[in-house]
Symmetry: C2
Amino acid sequence: MNLDAVQFDEKGLVPVIVQDAHSGKVLTLAYANREALTQTLLTGYSTFYSRSRGELWVKGATSGNRQKVLEVVLDCDQDAVLYRVEPQGPACHTGAESCFHNPLSEAAGHPPLGEVLERVYRTIQQRLRDLPEGSYVARMHQEGLDRVLKKIGEEAGEVILAAKNADGEELSWEAADLLFHLLFTLAELGLSPDDLARVLWQRNARDAAAGSGRVPPV
Amino acid sequence: MNLDAVQFDEKGLVPVIVQDAHSGKVLTLAYANREALTQTLLTGYSTFYSRSRGELWVKGATSGNRQKVLEVVLDCDQDAVLYRVEPQGPACHTGAESCFHNPLSEAAGHPPLGEVLERVYRTIQQRLRDLPEGSYVARMHQEGLDRVLKKIGEEAGEVILAAKNADGEELSWEAADLLFHLLFTLAELGLSPDDLARVLWQRNARDAAAGSGRVPPV
């Protein structure tokens, strides 16, 4: 850990972007002084400097909504920092998942894929846990693991047909269906979308090292 | 557009987080004054205020690496802004995709899933375009669309078997294989991971509106 490169401003602060390490969602913009950065790196939990209170601020110290820090990255001109975190609760004091929730423009059509997948996955987990009446996931789950696995086969077939029919819109739908049931299957076995990221990333690294050979993919 | 809520600092600036709207990658931390925010909202392209040059800065005006802005969001206490963009080139003056590339901590195991999927997808696109010797994607592509579609069926079968065997590590691998070939199929038909996000998000919204009924999923 070498903080000498960090360019703190005239108040001794550097802005910190906090990002969910799994969904990629931007959670908060906060500030750190040298001590807060040091504490973050030493403890592995988000620590900032509160400009309003004028003191060190261990995120979640009172609310319990701590943020486990997986990675700290400095930008190219060393005057901004990124924390990649696993949040243990909402980032925002309003109870919202992210502090960024006041649109200044027309909303984009949808969030980035990573956020969408994480949201869908958490919904599946909640349905598996609470088994709410009328829930598709709950009903499938109660009929046993084979039920969702049959859907994997069925949706794979529908992806193949949509592709053969060169029907882009149909393919988008069937591919989304297949991906949904894949997340459902992962959830049934206690796995998460992050396991997919891990495996694909390992292969990507190996592929880059091996040139363009058959890795398993690319 | 109402910028009256924005809390500019004593220099008339507000920090702006720039995020790739598709991969979710954090690209840059920059600053905007009221005029830069107004220009961004009016033109639909990232505009900042350059603190070093003391002037309005239309990102990519000279380099061509413009950023199409899909959404502008203000945070809970109105003193930080998020631009969600489609970058038309590297965000960093070093040529790197993102300005955040100097790790201060041990690197996390892997980036968020959204970034990984986008990276894998772009690699597939590049292989389909350049057909480099020894590339798995290039070879499969040259054998025709049926070749990758057969893999969809095959990998779906392997997901089913891994799940039936309750083998989490095997399931992670097979699910990643299936997802890889799904991205490959999308690329063959000119679709992108963003199409998956769009469809899944539409369903999520409909599901939320309809309670917990069968939507298509959840």
